[in-house]
């Protein structure tokens, strides 16, 4: 059970890491192109980050209920 949990969390972390990187990439490019929009971009970026992070947290909390 422990191995499966570790593997599942690892895979989830992999995907979420890629997603967070993509969001950071997009936000940074946008900020570099349009420095005056930094405030709005930051807000949107943080919200997107929160939603992506939630996927990982859900995985962490749901996985132990699936593996029995």
């Amino acid at each position: 059970m422990g191995t499966g949990l570790g593997l599942g969390v690892g895979i989830a972390a992999l995907g979420v890491g890629i997603g967070l990187g993509l969001i950071g990439n997009g936000a940074l490019q946008g900020m570099a192109r349009q420095p005056e929009a930094i405030g709005k971009l930051q807000t949107a970026m943080l919200i997107a980050l929160a939603f992506v992070e939630l996927v990982f947290l859900l995985t962490v909390f749901v996985a132990p209920f699936l593996i029995k």
Binding site: L5, G39, K40, T43, L46, I47, L49, A50, E53, L54, F56, L57, L58, V60, F61, P64, F65, I67, K68
Partner: protein, 255 residues
């Protein structure tokens, strides 16, 4: 927490067994009381410099900056009528932030317990519904869930959309509370693991390396909780207010 996850095979029970510092319900209450005491002392101290024309009291100006920040956030994401939600958002922000930061100095934080977060998320979601009903009326608020206006046989789709919206509305409070709990509790576990790593060489690695990152997490989590509540509020209260403003504008130009 135990009451909620009673049936699960439990990683929670294991975690409880591993970390003996998880307090009971009264311990949690004591930590919440600690947070409230910190907040009340700070705010009562800040109130002293309130009647001066320029705030000389540093605590007062600190809270002024915080107020400006929250006001900026509310007005930015909700619009001009977002100003009346500032007190609630400010309360959420301060409660969560101080609740998070307490963990840097004491062995536990109230926000690292799911029940406290769930309570706060319930308050937030219910507040959003209340404000939505207040802004659009009960029928308008319910109509808001049905999506775009469809006619004829397409009403079936509206029913589907309504169901899905209700479910997502209910899941909002799960997502709000789980996000906060997972981040703070996960941060604690990470610091603990780093400290265990450094045990052999007698260096508390977690304290050295991770506490600063944890401070950032504390700030960002408080910000995200508040900002998401703002976004939910803007989704719910948007239409009615905008139409009203539009009508006023037209009336003004007509005159």
């Amino acid at each position: 927490m135990d009451a909620i996850f009673l049936n699960g095979p439990s990683i929670f029970a294991e975690a409880d067994a591993m970390s003996a510092k998880e307090p009971s319900i009264w311990g949690l209450a004591a930590y919440i009381a600690l947070v409230l005491v910190i907040l009340f002392v700070l705010m009562s101290y800040a109130k002293k410099g309130l009647n001066v024309r320029v705030f000389k009291n540093p605590i007062t100006s600190l809270f002024e900056q915080l107020y400006l920040f929250i006001e900026n956030m509310c007005v930015g994401s909700i619009g001009q009528h977002g100003r009346k939600y500032i007190p609630m958002m400010m309360t959420f922000w301060m409660m969560i932030f101080v609740g998070n930061v307490v963990a840097l100095l004491f062995p536990f934080a109230p926000t690292a317990d799911l029940s406290f977060n769930l309570g706060m998320a319930l308050i937030a979601v219910c507040y959003v519904q209340y404000e939505g009903v207040k802004a659009n009326g009960l029928l308008g608020h319910l109509k808001h869930f049905t999506g775009p206006k469809l006619s004829g046989a397409m009403v079936a789709i509206s029913v589907l959309i309504f169901t899905i919206e209700i479910i997502s509305e209910l899941m909002k409070n799960v997502s709000l509370s789980l996000r906060l709990y997972g981040n703070i509790h996960g941060g604690h576990l990470a610091v603990e693991a780093m400290n265990n790593l450094g045990n052999k060489i007698y260096v508390p690695l977690g304290v050295v390396v991770l506490l600063l990152i944890k401070l950032l997490t504390c700030l960002v989590q408080a910000l995200i909780f508040t900002m998401l509540t703002c976004v939910y509020l803007s989704l719910v209260t948007h239409h009615g207010e905008d139409h009203a403003e539009g009508d006023h504008g037209q009336a003004a130009t007509a005159h």
